[in-house]
Symmetry: C4
Subunit: 195 residues, 4 copies
């Protein structure tokens, strides 16, 4: 079985989850419209980080599936659980947007919840990849070296979000800044070619 | 006429219905955010079961259409009615999530409604398959044996959800546990290769 | 330019519009959940008719574009205006669902608005088709006879919805019954093969 | 890497953003339903302009990617930022719809915000295109002349929306009329063939 329909379905979930994020952005508080639009800045921050982070995951999904030559029931299931995390994204994003403005316990809860969600997503993403890459089971013959490189990068992903989650307990602005830095880091061009 | 565009359209409806589920997940009740996030557990349970159940239907849709070589007006219509059930899913999911927390008549109603929806969906899914598989009308020549195997599995699907519906009248937790067990069962690897 | 990406984009809009319909279905009124679910019947009726009607338009879109061999700027624009009608569908559907239950002026307004929307959609659909079929401009050489048959069927579509709109002024139940009959009629198998 | 999956994903975001617009259209104010439907005219105007403007951007995206023969990490990122603008669209559209009816400071804010959003979108669109077209880096050999023509047209796009933004400070009706005129202008057939 080729990976084509799996990729189409995944693209659909990515595209929808990423586009539903906007439904949670609304003018905030009272006063003039200009004031309400400015007061909605936490929504914009949460929108931006979530969109870019998931966008990068899509770009990488794109790249890693070009190395996979066939699917198994196990890969379909692992990818489905990963997509369940992606589709869940608008919820923690909304929670973060609603509580980012006022420092306090709820703000900490929101930031930790948001980053823990990214951590869980990264774990299921790695699981999906390992299902295909373990012993090069489903990797195209010409892609073994590239696959090993991807595997190394994946092991770096989950710890980053674990750190961001733990930082969130101490300082919400630092955790959010770390999320933003990770997003920008992944947006930068890379020396290695294809992903 | 090939099945390609039918599959693309179906993938779209699956992907959207599955992703819209999150719009119904919200923090629940009062108190601290941490408390509200915990109190929203019925939403998470309903999200999880609906996502995985529909995800499995997508995986199977993927598998059975690889056995079908052409479409007819009848198959398009049967598939459309099946997709109408899939697209309806966010409604019973929301109803279940809203009433799972408090035991009582409404909780029973919600669990029965939820499982009856799965029963109707399974019936229309079987109808779609039979439209193609009856006397191997639209089955690829090399797929007759695999198609017979799929047909046998389909006859097991509807009764499972009929049982879950009936169990719901007696015990809501038992019905939900049964839904979860069915989802996990279908997620497990199977001996038979392709679906 | 081939019609492939136009069809993909159209499929996306069809699939999303048809799936968003469910967001407007909610338990209605007070009392027990069972009562609320029953009282929501106008939502189910509106959902059913809108889903099937748009689903049929998708099936036909599928069929007519298999006769079109290339696109022009004019065809892209005509199809875009038609998709604007399709994407607008959840609005009149919600209006109908909210006012179907109580006889009176608002119920008449809702039914007329709903059917007038179908009329406008049918007109833009015909316009899209004529842009391609006029003098067989964009029709595949082997499809001229089939295209003429499609053209004849299109001229029947708009008057049906004009009649349903006018009937709505006199009797809402009759207009809705007519919409349902039209949907069932198009679902039935047809003697002519492919659409 | 071919552009195929990038185009599929982009089509998904376009299709979803354009279809979510309808969720913001609702009957407005009190009185009879007929009155509420008429009073909702600002929603219809905003829906129409946003749908057509984004629809045209999709048509052009379609055209310019037929000239691009491969993707780079940079092009994926630029296109992702452009899609972030497209997905953001339902928010300024809602803001405009809510404040179009009553003249005053908030109406001006809404019109300026709406047009500034189009300006930012046009800038990221141009950036995406330049990433591919600069020195014909990713352009198919046969498309160099067509690409130069597209580049010239792009330089006209951003200033149009800058002007509309500035006009919004002085006169909201004039700015909206300008948006409408731009949309109609792009809908018109063009002498140059394919885009």
């Amino acid at each position: 079985m080729t990976t084509e329909r799996l990729e189409t379905f995944s693209d659909g979930v990515f595209a929808i989850a990423i586009t539903l994020l906007i439904l949670e952005v609304r003018p905030s508080g009272g006063g003039s419209l200009a004031h309400q639009l400015l007061a909605a800045w936490p929504s914009y921050v949460a929108y931006l980080i979530s969109f870019v982070t998931i966008g990068i995951m899509w770009v990488n999904h794109h790249a890693i599936f070009s190395l996979i030559e066939s699917t198994t029931h196990g890969l379909l299931v692992a990818n489905l659980l990963f997509l369940m995390c992606i589709a869940f994204l608008p919820f923690p994003t909304r929670v973060l947007a609603e509580h980012l403005q006022h420092a306090g316990t709820d703000q900490t809860t929101a930031a930790v919840f948001y980053n823990a969600f990214f951590l869980v997503t990264a774990i299921f993403y790695n699981l999906t990849w390992q299902t295909a890459a373990w012993k090069h089971r489903l990797i195209t013959p010409s892609g073994h070296a590239a696959a090993d490189q991807v595997s190394r990068r994946f092991w770096a992903g989950s710890p980053s979000y674990l750190i961001a989650t733990l930082v969130g307990f101490k300082s919400v602005p630092a955790a959010i800044a770390l999320d933003g830095a990770l997003a920008v880091f992944y947006l930068l061009p890379r020396r290695a070619a294809s992903s």
